[in-house]
Amino acid sequence: MPGPVLVGYDGSEPSDRALDHAVALAKSHDTSIILVHVLEWSPYSFLTQEELAERHARRKDEMARAESAVLKPALERVSASGLKIEPVIQYGHSAEILARVAKEKGADQIIVGRDGSGGLAARLFGSTAATLIQIATIPCTIVP
């Protein structure tokens, strides 16, 4: 049996299309899906004293919100497929986390949606898809 298909998911339309694509692919390959949602986070950002004190509580809230508002609807939407889907929520830099989780879980490929902002913003800050294809060690599919 081939390794699972990893999908980077943020609740946006392109990421929905990526998930649909992954479902079709996983069905035909008879494998499972890992649904990864990344909360952007840098351990080198600056926080105020109060934010530090509340950070642990905030993190719990953010995780719960990601679970209920992002992953749960997605899982419900594709539950009819009957595939085994493992949800993952992680903090960090999107592309780096996707590549790392893929490695840890022995995924065969990574599927992400294109965020569509191909303009100046993407050039300045780099898009997840662009970074991912630079650092991934397994094939990546960018769903338009």
Binding site: P43, F46, L47, T48, Q49, L52, E54, G92
Partner: protein
């Protein structure tokens, strides 16, 4: 928000009604302030019988020395590991999103790097001469061990509330640590610490900042009454801490580190521009350290000033850092202790020394060319400077003498540093306040309003009484905190032994290679 509108209205009224008596207000505030705090200041700064050496300075130096030896020069042996921790080499990726070592250190630093490094150093050199620098650096290096001890305990005994927020600091380790060791008196020490911490927050963490920020502004815009600066600052602080205007706090938090880098960078450039003088400057520092080079009180005078300003700047042994560092997420409290070692190093050994070198190298202090000794002012208690500058204006003059217009950048830096230090200390003070009086919105607002009022007092009063009270309150915190640390240091030693065993056995491993 209605509160801040109200305050703005009061401000407007004040501005209309009393410009004529402006200087009068400043003088009255100053007189009341000096009279009501004098006894406290003289108690803290009284000398060892028969000497001119304040007992409190000895207290801190002895503490730092004891911790340095007790933990086997922890500041030398574990600094490399501290840097690895800050880089995140040992952070579990699954803990991402929690407070990192870097964040805890950065926030703690933005509370300490500030006026102490710019104005405080100038005060030390203005009174104690270049030799004060030597003692300041030494105190900074030794202080690393004090900081290590208090921050380890701060994390170990912090209080975690059911909702996941944390509070830590000496109040908590004094009560819990003492209880755990079966020692009496922890509760009393915790209460005393909290009282002094509130004074410290209002003094060094507030009035001194407001005072020096005003001196900066007056230097740029021309002389005007201090209470005006005070009211404006108080309104902004009020908007942030009472009105919940987080955006201002966030901007400050992000700009301050860049200002810090800019400041040190400029200092390095000025020092390099005068590269031929570096040897001479260090000569003055070493000679002054042991002879005084004519300053008031001789070498003891230089030493006292150096130690005083170092303690005021890096706050090692004071206990405030234990509050700041306590929010980090780690399974091993001692890791935050290691990280906190870096704080006095960056603050005192790097930043303060830069200020000192710039002042010395640019020749701000007047010395007698024949004897090589420094010339004292008429009052005989400070070194004469080129334009009679003291405190932050001395630093400003030193930087501007080499880089034209830097005084404007420095003024901005001072104001931002003052503001971020105020915000940090309003938090420390608040933690002490809620420890004493309990949590609750209305109780917190009472403290925050008092805090804002002291901003105005600080900006209006003269530097002398403000700086004395600020130092006295912060040192009073250290009296209680250090006493507690002596009783609790075996706990830290046990943590240190456990941690090094785990590191050796590979139980604690690097995640990044």
């Amino acid at each position: 928000m209605t509160h801040s509108r109200f305050l703005l209205a009061v401000m407007a009224l004040l501005a209309l009604a009393v410009p004529a008596q402006a200087q009068g207000i400043d003088e009255t505030v100053n007189a009341i302030f000096a009279n009501s705090t004098g006894w406290f200041v003289s108690l803290i700064f009284s000398n060892f019988p028969g000497t001119s050496f304040p007992w409190i300075v000895g207290w801190l130096v002895i503490a730092a020395t004891v911790f340095t030896f007790y933990f086997g020069f922890v500041q030398l042996r574990w600094s490399g590991h501290a840097i690895a921790l800050v880089k995140g080499d040992y952070s579990d990726p699954n803990d991402a999103g929690e407070v990192s070592h870097f964040q805890a250190l950065a926030t703690a630093l933005s509370g300490t790097v500030g006026l102490g490094n710019i104005a405080g150093v100038a005060v030390a050199i203005g009174i104690g001469g270049p030799g004060a620098t030597f003692w300041m650096i030494l105190a900074g290096l030794m202080g690393m061990a004090s900081k290590f001890t208090e921050c380890t305990l701060g994390v170990k005994y912090r209080n975690e509330y059911p909702d996941g927020t944390v509070s830590g600091g000496p109040m908590y380790y004094l009560t819990r640590g003492f209880a755990e060791r079966g020692l009496p008196g922890g509760g009393i020490l915790a209460v005393l610490f909290s009282v002094f911490c509130i004074f410290g927050a209002l003094g060094g963490g507030n009035m001194f900042q407001a005072n020096q920020a005003h001196q900066q502004l007056a230097g740029v815009f021309g002389d005007y009454p201090g209470w005006i600066t005070g009211v404006i600052f108080a309104a902004i602080v009020f908007a942030v801490i009472v009105g919940g205007l987080k955006s201002i706090a966030r901007v400050t938090e992000k700009v301050v580190p860049f200002m810090g880098v800019l400041y040190v960078g400029t200092a390095i450039i000025i020092i390099l521009m005068n590269a031929d003088q570096i040897g001479w400057a260090f000569g003055q520092i070493f000679e002054g350290a042991f002879t005084g080079l004519g300053v008031a009180g001789g070498f003891v005078g230089a030493l006292i000033q150096g130690f005083r300003r170092a303690a005021f700047s890096n706050e090692a042994g004071v206990g405030s850092a234990a509050i700041a560092h306590s929010a980090v997420r780690t399974k091993e409290p001692i890791t935050e202790g290691f990280v906190s070692l870096l704080e006095p190093f960056i603050d005192t050994v790097v930043v303060c020394t830069m200020t000192a070198l710039v002042i010395i190298i640019t020749g701000q202090l007047i010395s007698d060319p024949e004897t090589g000794l420094y010339v004292l002012t008429e009052a005989g208690n400070a070194v004469q400077t080129i334009d009679g500058n003291t405190g932050v204006s001395l630093t400003s003059a030193a930087f501007s003498s080499e880089i034209d217009g830097f005084k404007y950048i420095l003024a901005l830096a001072v104001i931002l540093f003052a503001f971020s230090t105020m915000l940090s200390w309003s938090y420390y003070g608040l933690k002490a306040w809620t420890f004493l009086f309990g949590e609750g919105k209305s109780k917190e607002v009472v403290f925050k309003v008092i805090f804002c009022l002291f901003v105005i007092i600080g900006a209006s009063a003269n530097l002398g009484p403000v700086i004395d009270f600020s130092d006295a309150a912060i040192f009073a915190m250290a009296v209680v905190n250090v006493l507690g640390l002596y009783f609790l240091m075996p706990i830290v030693k046990r943590e240190l032994a456990n941690y090094s065993a785990k590191l050796k056995s590979g139980q604690i491993k690097k995640y990044k290679t």
